[in-house]
Protein backbone atom coordinates (compact mmCIF):
# COMPACT_ATOMS: atom_id res chain seq x y z
CA UNK A 1 0.00 0.00 0.00
CA UNK A 2 1.23 3.47 -0.84
CA UNK A 3 2.39 5.79 1.89
CA UNK A 4 -0.36 7.91 3.38
CA UNK A 5 -0.14 11.67 2.99
CA UNK A 6 0.35 12.01 6.72
CA UNK A 7 3.55 9.97 6.50
CA UNK A 8 5.16 11.65 3.50
CA UNK A 9 8.49 13.41 3.95
CA UNK A 10 8.70 17.18 3.57
CA UNK A 11 10.85 17.98 0.57
CA UNK A 12 12.39 21.19 -0.66
CA UNK A 13 13.05 22.50 -4.16
CA UNK A 14 14.80 25.75 -5.02
CA UNK A 15 13.64 28.11 -7.74
CA UNK A 16 16.00 30.47 -9.61
CA UNK A 17 14.51 33.29 -7.54
CA UNK A 18 16.24 31.74 -4.53
CA UNK A 19 12.97 30.72 -2.87
CA UNK A 20 12.97 27.22 -1.43
CA UNK A 21 9.55 25.63 -1.77
CA UNK A 22 8.42 23.00 0.76
CA UNK A 23 6.35 20.25 -0.85
CA UNK A 24 5.06 16.71 -0.58
CA UNK A 25 4.80 14.40 -3.56
CA UNK A 26 2.67 11.25 -3.73
CA UNK A 27 0.99 8.89 -6.19
CA UNK A 28 1.90 8.15 -9.78
CA UNK A 29 0.57 9.32 -13.10
CA UNK A 30 1.30 11.21 -16.27
CA UNK A 31 -0.09 14.69 -15.56
CA UNK A 32 0.50 15.70 -11.94
CA UNK A 33 -2.24 17.35 -9.92
CA UNK A 34 -0.84 20.39 -8.10
CA UNK A 35 -2.80 21.62 -5.09
CA UNK A 36 -3.05 25.27 -4.02
CA UNK A 37 -3.82 25.81 -0.36
CA UNK A 38 -6.34 28.01 1.48
CA UNK A 39 -5.82 31.17 3.55
CA UNK A 40 -3.18 30.55 6.26
CA UNK A 41 -2.96 26.85 5.41
CA UNK A 42 0.25 24.85 5.06
CA UNK A 43 1.11 21.30 3.98
CA UNK A 44 -0.55 19.86 7.09
CA UNK A 45 -3.83 21.66 6.37
CA UNK A 46 -4.75 19.25 3.58
CA UNK A 47 -6.96 16.46 4.88
CA UNK A 48 -4.92 13.24 4.34
CA UNK A 49 -8.14 11.37 3.50
CA UNK A 50 -8.68 13.62 0.47
CA UNK A 51 -5.06 13.54 -0.71
CA UNK A 52 -4.86 9.75 -0.38
CA UNK A 53 -8.08 9.34 -2.37
CA UNK A 54 -6.82 11.67 -5.12
CA UNK A 55 -3.40 9.98 -5.19
CA UNK A 56 -4.94 6.53 -5.77
CA UNK A 57 -4.99 7.26 -9.50
CA UNK A 58 -2.51 10.05 -10.11
CA UNK A 59 0.51 11.95 -8.90
CA UNK A 60 -0.49 14.62 -6.39
CA UNK A 61 1.78 17.42 -5.21
CA UNK A 62 1.08 19.83 -2.36
CA UNK A 63 3.37 22.76 -1.70
CA UNK A 64 3.77 25.91 0.36
CA UNK A 65 3.86 28.98 -1.85
CA UNK A 66 6.49 31.67 -1.34
CA UNK A 67 6.80 32.71 2.30
CA UNK A 68 4.16 30.21 3.49
CA UNK A 69 4.87 27.52 6.11
CA UNK A 70 8.13 25.71 5.39
CA UNK A 71 8.94 27.69 2.23
CA UNK A 72 11.39 30.56 2.29
CA UNK A 73 10.85 34.08 0.98
CA UNK A 74 8.26 36.71 1.77
CA UNK A 75 4.57 36.03 1.16
CA UNK A 76 3.42 38.41 -1.60
CA UNK A 77 0.25 40.46 -1.14
CA UNK A 78 -1.28 39.97 -4.59
CA UNK A 79 -2.90 36.96 -6.20
CA UNK A 80 -0.98 37.75 -9.39
CA UNK A 81 2.39 37.37 -7.67
CA UNK A 82 1.23 34.22 -5.88
CA UNK A 83 0.36 32.80 -9.30
CA UNK A 84 3.79 33.70 -10.69
CA UNK A 85 5.41 32.09 -7.66
CA UNK A 86 3.35 28.92 -8.13
CA UNK A 87 4.38 28.83 -11.79
CA UNK A 88 7.99 29.15 -10.62
CA UNK A 89 7.48 26.15 -8.33
CA UNK A 90 6.08 24.08 -11.21
CA UNK A 91 9.05 25.08 -13.35
CA UNK A 92 11.53 24.29 -10.58
CA UNK A 93 9.95 20.83 -10.24
CA UNK A 94 10.11 20.40 -14.04
CA UNK A 95 6.51 19.17 -14.04
CA UNK A 96 5.58 20.32 -17.55
CA UNK A 97 1.83 20.48 -17.94
CA UNK A 98 -0.23 20.03 -14.78
CA UNK A 99 -3.77 19.86 -13.48
CA UNK A 100 -4.60 22.36 -10.75
CA UNK A 101 -6.82 22.07 -7.71
CA UNK A 102 -7.13 25.42 -5.98
CA UNK A 103 -8.92 25.75 -2.66
CA UNK A 104 -10.26 29.16 -1.55
CA UNK A 105 -7.43 31.71 -1.97
CA UNK A 106 -5.63 28.88 -3.79
CA UNK A 107 -8.50 28.82 -6.28
CA UNK A 108 -7.92 32.51 -7.00
CA UNK A 109 -4.28 31.67 -7.66
CA UNK A 110 -5.32 28.78 -9.92
CA UNK A 111 -7.52 31.08 -12.03
CA UNK A 112 -4.65 33.52 -12.39
CA UNK A 113 -2.23 30.75 -13.37
CA UNK A 114 -4.60 29.55 -16.09
CA UNK A 115 -4.76 33.12 -17.39
CA UNK A 116 -1.05 33.98 -17.10
CA UNK A 117 0.46 30.69 -18.28
CA UNK A 118 -2.31 28.70 -20.00
CA UNK A 119 0.19 26.40 -21.72
CA UNK A 120 1.13 24.59 -18.50
CA UNK A 121 -2.43 24.11 -17.25
CA UNK A 122 -4.43 21.14 -18.58
CA UNK A 123 -7.54 21.14 -16.36
CA UNK A 124 -8.60 23.14 -13.33
CA UNK A 125 -10.63 22.35 -10.22
CA UNK A 126 -11.79 25.41 -8.26
CA UNK A 127 -13.01 24.63 -4.74
CA UNK A 128 -14.81 27.34 -2.69
CA UNK A 129 -14.05 29.97 -5.29
CA UNK A 130 -15.16 33.30 -6.74
CA UNK A 131 -14.17 35.48 -9.68
CA UNK A 132 -12.07 38.60 -9.16
CA UNK A 133 -14.14 41.74 -8.71
CA UNK A 134 -17.45 40.07 -7.81
CA UNK A 135 -19.64 42.37 -5.74
CA UNK A 136 -19.67 41.37 -2.08
CA UNK A 137 -16.26 39.69 -2.09
CA UNK A 138 -14.31 42.54 -0.52
CA UNK A 139 -12.92 40.66 2.48
CA UNK A 140 -14.56 37.92 4.48
CA UNK A 141 -17.66 38.56 6.59
CA UNK A 142 -16.74 39.90 10.05
CA UNK A 143 -17.64 36.67 11.86
CA UNK A 144 -15.48 34.71 9.41
CA UNK A 145 -12.35 36.86 9.62
CA UNK A 146 -13.02 37.15 13.36
CA UNK A 147 -12.82 33.36 13.64
CA UNK A 148 -9.99 32.46 11.27
CA UNK A 149 -8.09 35.76 11.05
CA UNK A 150 -6.87 35.98 14.64
CA UNK A 151 -3.27 35.36 15.68
CA UNK A 152 -4.30 31.98 17.12
CA UNK A 153 -7.23 30.06 15.67
CA UNK A 154 -8.80 27.20 17.62
CA UNK A 155 -10.06 23.98 16.03
CA UNK A 156 -13.58 25.05 17.06
CA UNK A 157 -13.26 28.30 15.15
CA UNK A 158 -11.83 26.47 12.15
CA UNK A 159 -14.73 24.00 12.20
CA UNK A 160 -17.18 26.90 12.56
CA UNK A 161 -16.10 28.32 9.20
CA UNK A 162 -15.05 25.22 7.27
CA UNK A 163 -18.04 23.07 8.28
CA UNK A 164 -21.80 23.61 8.40
CA UNK A 165 -23.65 24.06 11.72
CA UNK A 166 -25.43 20.69 11.48
CA UNK A 167 -24.33 17.89 13.86
CA UNK A 168 -23.31 15.71 10.91
CA UNK A 169 -21.11 18.39 9.38
CA UNK A 170 -19.53 19.35 12.72
CA UNK A 171 -18.76 15.70 13.37
CA UNK A 172 -17.13 15.48 9.95
CA UNK A 173 -15.15 18.59 10.87
CA UNK A 174 -13.84 17.02 14.06
CA UNK A 175 -12.84 13.91 12.14
CA UNK A 176 -11.03 15.97 9.52
CA UNK A 177 -9.16 17.94 12.20
CA UNK A 178 -8.12 14.64 13.83
CA UNK A 179 -6.77 13.39 10.51
CA UNK A 180 -4.91 16.65 9.93
CA UNK A 181 -3.30 16.44 13.38
CA UNK A 182 -2.62 12.68 13.28
CA UNK A 183 0.86 13.51 12.04
CA UNK A 184 2.96 14.37 15.06
CA UNK A 185 6.47 14.27 13.64
CA UNK A 186 8.03 16.49 11.03
CA UNK A 187 5.01 18.73 10.79
CA UNK A 188 5.22 21.70 8.47
CA UNK A 189 6.16 25.09 9.90
CA UNK A 190 3.11 27.12 10.95
CA UNK A 191 2.17 30.09 8.80
CA UNK A 192 3.22 33.41 10.24
CA UNK A 193 1.31 36.59 11.00
CA UNK A 194 3.14 38.25 8.07
CA UNK A 195 1.69 35.56 5.77
CA UNK A 196 -1.76 36.14 7.23
CA UNK A 197 -1.49 39.88 6.62
CA UNK A 198 -0.18 39.54 3.08
CA UNK A 199 -2.76 36.90 2.13
CA UNK A 200 -5.63 38.90 3.53
CA UNK A 201 -4.45 42.00 1.66
CA UNK A 202 -4.47 39.86 -1.48
CA UNK A 203 -7.98 38.60 -0.70
CA UNK A 204 -9.30 42.13 -0.16
CA UNK A 205 -7.60 43.44 -3.29
CA UNK A 206 -9.02 40.55 -5.30
CA UNK A 207 -12.45 41.39 -3.92
CA UNK A 208 -12.49 45.11 -4.76
CA UNK A 209 -15.75 45.37 -6.73
CA UNK A 210 -14.87 45.56 -10.40
CA UNK A 211 -17.55 44.80 -12.94
CA UNK A 212 -15.10 44.75 -15.83
CA UNK A 213 -12.80 42.25 -14.13
CA UNK A 214 -15.52 39.62 -14.31
CA UNK A 215 -14.83 39.12 -17.99
CA UNK A 216 -11.22 38.04 -17.34
CA UNK A 217 -12.12 34.42 -16.61
CA UNK A 218 -13.96 34.20 -19.94
CA UNK A 219 -10.44 33.75 -21.35
CA UNK A 220 -9.90 30.49 -19.45
CA UNK A 221 -10.06 27.97 -22.25
CA UNK A 222 -9.42 24.84 -20.20
CA UNK A 223 -12.19 22.64 -18.83
CA UNK A 224 -12.95 23.72 -15.27
CA UNK A 225 -14.82 22.07 -12.41
CA UNK A 226 -16.20 24.55 -9.86
CA UNK A 227 -17.47 23.26 -6.53
CA UNK A 228 -18.49 24.41 -3.06
CA UNK A 229 -20.47 23.44 -0.01
CA UNK A 230 -24.06 24.65 0.15
CA UNK A 231 -23.51 26.58 3.41
CA UNK A 232 -20.11 28.20 2.95
CA UNK A 233 -20.04 31.45 4.97
CA UNK A 234 -16.60 32.45 3.65
CA UNK A 235 -17.29 32.35 -0.09
CA UNK A 236 -21.02 32.05 -0.67
CA UNK A 237 -22.18 29.27 -3.05
CA UNK A 238 -23.67 32.03 -5.23
CA UNK A 239 -20.12 32.85 -6.42
CA UNK A 240 -19.62 29.27 -7.56
CA UNK A 241 -22.48 29.70 -10.02
CA UNK A 242 -21.27 33.13 -11.06
CA UNK A 243 -17.78 31.82 -11.72
CA UNK A 244 -18.97 28.70 -13.54
CA UNK A 245 -21.20 30.88 -15.70
CA UNK A 246 -18.37 33.20 -16.65
CA UNK A 247 -15.95 30.42 -17.61
CA UNK A 248 -16.79 29.01 -21.06
CA UNK A 249 -16.18 25.34 -20.24
CA UNK A 250 -17.21 24.90 -16.62
CA UNK A 251 -19.13 22.26 -14.74
CA UNK A 252 -20.51 22.97 -11.30
CA UNK A 253 -21.44 20.96 -8.22
CA UNK A 254 -22.68 22.07 -4.83
CA UNK A 255 -22.25 19.54 -2.01
CA UNK A 256 -25.00 19.27 0.62
CA UNK A 257 -24.78 19.94 4.35
CA UNK A 258 -21.28 21.41 4.10
CA UNK A 259 -19.35 24.68 4.05
CA UNK A 260 -15.94 26.03 3.03
CA UNK A 261 -14.25 22.70 3.76
CA UNK A 262 -16.77 20.61 1.81
CA UNK A 263 -13.89 18.85 0.06
CA UNK A 264 -12.62 17.49 3.40
CA UNK A 265 -16.10 16.57 4.63
CA UNK A 266 -17.11 14.83 1.38
CA UNK A 267 -13.57 13.65 0.66
CA UNK A 268 -14.53 10.38 -1.02
CA UNK A 269 -17.30 11.85 -3.18
CA UNK A 270 -15.27 14.92 -4.11
CA UNK A 271 -12.18 12.85 -4.95
CA UNK A 272 -14.33 10.64 -7.19
CA UNK A 273 -15.83 13.71 -8.89
CA UNK A 274 -12.39 15.22 -9.40
CA UNK A 275 -11.09 11.91 -10.74
CA UNK A 276 -14.00 11.68 -13.19
CA UNK A 277 -13.43 15.27 -14.30
CA UNK A 278 -9.67 14.91 -14.73
CA UNK A 279 -9.98 11.66 -16.66
CA UNK A 280 -12.62 12.90 -19.12
CA UNK A 281 -11.37 12.32 -22.66
CA UNK A 282 -11.27 15.65 -24.49
Amino acid sequence: MATSYSELPNELVSAPSGVGYAYRDTGEGEVPLVLLQHFRGNLDSWDPALIDALAANRRVITFDNTGVGGSTGVTPDTIGQMARDAIAFIAAMDLGQVDLLGFSIGSFVAQEMALIRPAIVRRVVLASSAPQGAAGMHGWASEVIGAVGKPQTSPEEYIGVFFAPSPSSRKAGQESVQRQYARTEDRDAATTWATREAQYDAVCTWGIPDHGALQRVAAIGQPVFVANGDSDPMILPHYTYLLAGLIPQAGVKIYPDSAHGFLFQHHAEFAADVEAFLSESC
Binding site: Q215, Y241, P248, V252
Partner: protein, 278 residues
Protein backbone atom coordinates in the same frame (compact mmCIF):
# COMPACT_ATOMS: atom_id res chain seq x y z
CA UNK B 1 -43.18 36.91 -49.56
CA UNK B 2 -40.60 34.29 -50.37
CA UNK B 3 -37.10 33.38 -49.34
CA UNK B 4 -35.41 34.90 -52.36
CA UNK B 5 -34.97 38.32 -50.76
CA UNK B 6 -32.29 36.82 -48.49
CA UNK B 7 -29.24 35.49 -50.29
CA UNK B 8 -27.46 32.86 -48.27
CA UNK B 9 -23.78 31.92 -48.11
CA UNK B 10 -21.72 29.45 -46.14
CA UNK B 11 -18.72 30.10 -43.93
CA UNK B 12 -16.56 27.82 -41.78
CA UNK B 13 -16.51 28.89 -38.13
CA UNK B 14 -15.15 26.64 -35.35
CA UNK B 15 -14.85 23.87 -37.98
CA UNK B 16 -18.60 24.05 -38.65
CA UNK B 17 -20.28 24.94 -41.96
CA UNK B 18 -22.52 27.86 -41.06
CA UNK B 19 -25.22 29.28 -43.33
CA UNK B 20 -25.80 32.99 -43.17
CA UNK B 21 -27.36 35.87 -45.09
CA UNK B 22 -25.91 39.34 -45.50
CA UNK B 23 -27.91 42.31 -46.84
CA UNK B 24 -24.70 44.14 -47.71
CA UNK B 25 -26.49 47.41 -47.02
CA UNK B 26 -24.89 50.42 -45.33
CA UNK B 27 -24.98 51.28 -41.66
CA UNK B 28 -24.31 49.56 -38.35
CA UNK B 29 -24.20 45.76 -38.41
CA UNK B 30 -27.29 44.08 -36.97
CA UNK B 31 -26.79 40.34 -36.42
CA UNK B 32 -29.81 38.02 -36.14
CA UNK B 33 -29.77 34.46 -34.74
CA UNK B 34 -32.20 31.89 -36.09
CA UNK B 35 -35.17 30.79 -33.97
CA UNK B 36 -36.09 27.13 -33.42
CA UNK B 37 -37.53 25.14 -35.18
CA UNK B 38 -37.07 27.66 -37.97
CA UNK B 39 -34.10 29.13 -39.80
CA UNK B 40 -32.66 32.52 -40.74
CA UNK B 41 -35.62 32.97 -43.12
CA UNK B 42 -37.64 33.78 -40.01
CA UNK B 43 -36.45 37.35 -40.62
CA UNK B 44 -37.65 37.64 -44.23
CA UNK B 45 -40.58 39.84 -43.19
CA UNK B 46 -38.46 42.34 -41.27
CA UNK B 47 -35.54 42.26 -43.72
CA UNK B 48 -36.68 44.88 -46.28
CA UNK B 49 -37.69 47.45 -43.64
CA UNK B 50 -34.57 46.98 -41.51
CA UNK B 51 -32.20 47.08 -44.47
CA UNK B 52 -32.70 50.86 -44.32
CA UNK B 53 -31.33 50.89 -40.75
CA UNK B 54 -28.10 48.98 -41.22
CA UNK B 55 -26.25 46.01 -42.64
CA UNK B 56 -28.23 42.91 -41.76
CA UNK B 57 -26.53 39.58 -41.15
CA UNK B 58 -28.51 36.53 -40.08
CA UNK B 59 -27.13 33.11 -39.25
CA UNK B 60 -28.46 29.64 -38.69
CA UNK B 61 -27.03 28.73 -35.30
CA UNK B 62 -24.95 25.53 -35.37
CA UNK B 63 -27.26 22.52 -35.24
CA UNK B 64 -30.25 24.69 -36.22
CA UNK B 65 -31.56 25.68 -39.64
CA UNK B 66 -29.12 24.51 -42.29
CA UNK B 67 -25.93 24.97 -40.30
CA UNK B 68 -23.79 22.04 -39.28
CA UNK B 69 -24.02 21.17 -35.59
CA UNK B 70 -21.91 19.50 -32.95
CA UNK B 71 -23.03 18.33 -29.52
CA UNK B 72 -20.52 20.41 -27.58
CA UNK B 73 -21.81 23.68 -29.08
CA UNK B 74 -25.42 22.87 -28.20
CA UNK B 75 -25.71 24.64 -24.85
CA UNK B 76 -26.49 28.33 -24.26
CA UNK B 77 -23.09 28.75 -22.68
CA UNK B 78 -21.09 27.20 -25.54
CA UNK B 79 -23.34 28.83 -28.14
CA UNK B 80 -22.52 32.22 -26.61
CA UNK B 81 -18.85 31.47 -27.21
CA UNK B 82 -19.64 30.40 -30.76
CA UNK B 83 -21.43 33.69 -31.44
CA UNK B 84 -18.30 35.53 -30.39
CA UNK B 85 -16.27 33.43 -32.84
CA UNK B 86 -18.78 34.04 -35.64
CA UNK B 87 -18.63 37.80 -35.11
CA UNK B 88 -14.84 37.76 -35.17
CA UNK B 89 -14.66 35.28 -38.03
CA UNK B 90 -16.84 37.38 -40.31
CA UNK B 91 -15.18 40.61 -39.24
CA UNK B 92 -18.48 42.09 -38.08
CA UNK B 93 -16.86 44.46 -35.60
CA UNK B 94 -19.17 45.21 -32.69
CA UNK B 95 -22.65 44.45 -34.00
CA UNK B 96 -26.06 44.95 -32.49
CA UNK B 97 -27.31 41.45 -31.77
CA UNK B 98 -30.94 40.39 -32.20
CA UNK B 99 -31.44 37.02 -30.54
CA UNK B 100 -34.95 35.65 -30.32
CA UNK B 101 -35.93 32.22 -29.01
CA UNK B 102 -33.00 29.83 -28.46
CA UNK B 103 -30.51 32.55 -29.31
CA UNK B 104 -31.56 34.67 -26.32
CA UNK B 105 -29.77 32.66 -23.62
CA UNK B 106 -26.65 32.28 -25.78
CA UNK B 107 -26.54 36.01 -26.45
CA UNK B 108 -26.85 36.74 -22.73
CA UNK B 109 -23.89 34.47 -21.96
CA UNK B 110 -21.91 36.34 -24.63
CA UNK B 111 -22.95 39.74 -23.25
CA UNK B 112 -21.94 38.73 -19.72
CA UNK B 113 -18.60 37.16 -20.60
CA UNK B 114 -17.49 39.38 -23.47
CA UNK B 115 -19.15 42.78 -23.00
CA UNK B 116 -16.95 44.26 -25.72
CA UNK B 117 -18.17 41.77 -28.34
CA UNK B 118 -21.50 43.46 -29.08
CA UNK B 119 -22.82 47.00 -29.02
CA UNK B 120 -26.31 46.16 -27.85
CA UNK B 121 -28.69 43.23 -27.54
CA UNK B 122 -32.34 42.63 -28.34
CA UNK B 123 -33.32 39.30 -26.78
CA UNK B 124 -36.52 37.50 -25.86
CA UNK B 125 -38.95 34.72 -26.61
CA UNK B 126 -36.58 32.05 -25.30
CA UNK B 127 -36.30 30.15 -22.05
CA UNK B 128 -34.02 32.12 -19.73
CA UNK B 129 -35.41 31.87 -16.21
CA UNK B 130 -34.16 29.58 -13.47
CA UNK B 131 -35.95 27.84 -11.87
CA UNK B 132 -37.15 26.78 -15.29
CA UNK B 133 -40.26 28.64 -16.48
CA UNK B 134 -41.28 27.06 -19.78
CA UNK B 135 -44.52 25.35 -20.73
CA UNK B 136 -46.19 23.12 -23.34
CA UNK B 137 -44.11 21.19 -25.83
CA UNK B 138 -40.92 22.94 -24.78
CA UNK B 139 -41.32 21.74 -21.19
CA UNK B 140 -42.02 18.23 -22.45
CA UNK B 141 -38.89 18.20 -24.62
CA UNK B 142 -36.74 19.25 -21.68
CA UNK B 143 -38.35 16.71 -19.36
CA UNK B 144 -38.07 13.77 -21.77
CA UNK B 145 -35.76 11.00 -20.54
CA UNK B 146 -33.45 11.15 -23.56
CA UNK B 147 -33.13 12.56 -27.08
CA UNK B 148 -33.82 9.11 -28.57
CA UNK B 149 -37.55 9.65 -28.11
CA UNK B 150 -37.40 12.37 -30.78
CA UNK B 151 -35.51 10.31 -33.32
CA UNK B 152 -38.49 8.40 -34.66
CA UNK B 153 -40.78 11.39 -35.12
CA UNK B 154 -42.25 12.20 -38.52
CA UNK B 155 -40.55 15.61 -38.77
CA UNK B 156 -42.45 16.71 -41.87
CA UNK B 157 -45.63 16.27 -39.86
CA UNK B 158 -44.58 17.58 -36.43
CA UNK B 159 -42.36 20.48 -37.46
CA UNK B 160 -44.62 21.11 -40.45
CA UNK B 161 -47.57 21.75 -38.16
CA UNK B 162 -45.49 23.85 -35.76
CA UNK B 163 -44.24 26.26 -38.42
CA UNK B 164 -47.40 26.32 -40.54
CA UNK B 165 -48.87 29.47 -38.92
CA UNK B 166 -45.58 31.36 -39.29
CA UNK B 167 -44.87 30.17 -42.84
CA UNK B 168 -48.00 28.68 -44.46
CA UNK B 169 -46.99 25.93 -46.85
CA UNK B 170 -49.45 27.04 -49.50
CA UNK B 171 -48.28 30.66 -49.56
CA UNK B 172 -44.57 30.30 -48.78
CA UNK B 173 -43.59 26.79 -49.85
CA UNK B 174 -39.88 27.58 -50.04
CA UNK B 175 -39.75 28.94 -46.49
CA UNK B 176 -41.87 26.10 -45.09
CA UNK B 177 -39.63 23.61 -46.84
CA UNK B 178 -36.49 25.31 -45.56
CA UNK B 179 -37.77 25.14 -41.98
CA UNK B 180 -38.88 21.53 -42.14
CA UNK B 181 -35.84 20.22 -43.98
CA UNK B 182 -33.65 21.92 -41.36
CA UNK B 183 -34.71 19.32 -38.83
CA UNK B 184 -34.95 16.14 -40.92
CA UNK B 185 -32.59 13.19 -40.73
CA UNK B 186 -32.19 13.22 -36.97
CA UNK B 187 -31.37 16.92 -36.77
CA UNK B 188 -34.42 17.72 -34.64
CA UNK B 189 -33.46 15.17 -32.00
CA UNK B 190 -29.91 16.54 -31.99
CA UNK B 191 -31.16 20.14 -31.72
CA UNK B 192 -33.12 19.31 -28.56
CA UNK B 193 -29.78 18.99 -26.76
CA UNK B 194 -29.76 22.76 -26.58
CA UNK B 195 -32.95 23.30 -24.61
CA UNK B 196 -32.31 20.13 -22.64
CA UNK B 197 -29.23 21.81 -21.17
CA UNK B 198 -31.39 24.63 -19.79
CA UNK B 199 -31.81 23.20 -16.28
CA UNK B 200 -28.07 23.24 -15.72
CA UNK B 201 -27.03 26.24 -17.80
CA UNK B 202 -29.80 28.70 -16.95
CA UNK B 203 -28.89 28.30 -13.29
CA UNK B 204 -25.49 29.71 -14.20
CA UNK B 205 -26.97 32.45 -16.33
CA UNK B 206 -29.04 33.78 -13.43
CA UNK B 207 -25.99 34.94 -11.49
CA UNK B 208 -24.44 36.53 -14.57
CA UNK B 209 -27.38 38.79 -15.43
CA UNK B 210 -26.66 41.53 -12.85
CA UNK B 211 -23.14 41.85 -14.30
CA UNK B 212 -24.28 42.57 -17.87
CA UNK B 213 -23.32 46.09 -18.95
CA UNK B 214 -24.29 45.86 -22.62
CA UNK B 215 -27.57 47.77 -23.28
CA UNK B 216 -30.32 45.13 -23.46
CA UNK B 217 -33.84 45.42 -24.84
CA UNK B 218 -35.93 42.45 -23.75
CA UNK B 219 -39.04 41.44 -25.64
CA UNK B 220 -41.73 38.89 -24.88
CA UNK B 221 -44.79 37.63 -26.74
CA UNK B 222 -47.93 38.31 -24.74
CA UNK B 223 -49.57 34.96 -25.47
CA UNK B 224 -46.54 32.71 -25.80
CA UNK B 225 -47.62 29.10 -25.11
CA UNK B 226 -44.01 27.92 -24.69
CA UNK B 227 -42.08 30.76 -23.04
CA UNK B 228 -44.28 32.77 -20.65
CA UNK B 229 -43.89 36.55 -20.44
CA UNK B 230 -42.47 36.00 -16.96
CA UNK B 231 -39.16 35.08 -18.65
CA UNK B 232 -38.98 38.58 -20.07
CA UNK B 233 -39.86 40.13 -16.72
CA UNK B 234 -37.19 37.97 -15.10
CA UNK B 235 -34.54 39.44 -17.39
CA UNK B 236 -35.78 43.01 -17.04
CA UNK B 237 -35.63 42.71 -13.24
CA UNK B 238 -32.05 41.42 -13.23
CA UNK B 239 -30.22 43.16 -16.08
CA UNK B 240 -29.28 46.70 -15.04
CA UNK B 241 -30.89 49.37 -17.19
CA UNK B 242 -32.70 46.92 -19.45
CA UNK B 243 -35.99 47.67 -21.15
CA UNK B 244 -38.95 45.30 -21.67
CA UNK B 245 -41.45 45.38 -24.54
CA UNK B 246 -44.35 42.97 -24.72
CA UNK B 247 -45.48 42.26 -28.26
CA UNK B 248 -49.01 41.11 -29.23
CA UNK B 249 -47.93 37.72 -30.53
CA UNK B 250 -48.10 34.05 -29.57
CA UNK B 251 -44.45 33.07 -30.06
CA UNK B 252 -43.10 33.85 -33.54
CA UNK B 253 -43.33 37.64 -33.06
CA UNK B 254 -40.82 38.29 -35.87
CA UNK B 255 -43.32 36.73 -38.29
CA UNK B 256 -46.64 37.40 -36.56
CA UNK B 257 -46.12 41.14 -36.02
CA UNK B 258 -43.17 41.87 -38.32
CA UNK B 259 -43.85 45.61 -38.53
CA UNK B 260 -43.77 46.01 -34.76
CA UNK B 261 -40.75 43.75 -34.44
CA UNK B 262 -38.87 45.68 -37.13
CA UNK B 263 -39.81 49.01 -35.55
CA UNK B 264 -38.59 47.81 -32.15
CA UNK B 265 -35.22 46.81 -33.61
CA UNK B 266 -34.88 49.93 -35.79
CA UNK B 267 -35.71 52.34 -32.95
CA UNK B 268 -33.42 50.53 -30.55
CA UNK B 269 -30.45 50.39 -32.92
CA UNK B 270 -30.90 54.00 -34.04
CA UNK B 271 -31.04 55.17 -30.45
CA UNK B 272 -28.05 53.05 -29.39
CA UNK B 273 -26.02 54.45 -32.28
CA UNK B 274 -27.01 57.98 -31.32
CA UNK B 275 -26.07 57.36 -27.65
CA UNK B 276 -22.73 55.91 -28.71
CA UNK B 277 -22.03 58.89 -30.94
CA UNK B 278 -22.57 61.43 -28.18
Amino acid sequence: MNASIMQTHTVLVDELQIRYADSGTDGPVILFTSPWPESLFAFRRVWPALARTGRLVALDLPGFGHSQGRADVLTPSAMGGFLGQFITGLGLGTPHLVAPDVGASAALFLAARSPDAIRSLVAGGGGVAWPLDVTGTLADIIAAPGIEVFEDQDIRATIGVTVEPAAPRAQEPDVWEDYVSSYENGRFAESTRYVRSYPERLRLLRDLLPAIRVPVHVFAAADDPLVPVSNGEYLAERIPGSKLTILPASHFAWEEVPDQFAALVADWVTRAEKDAGQ
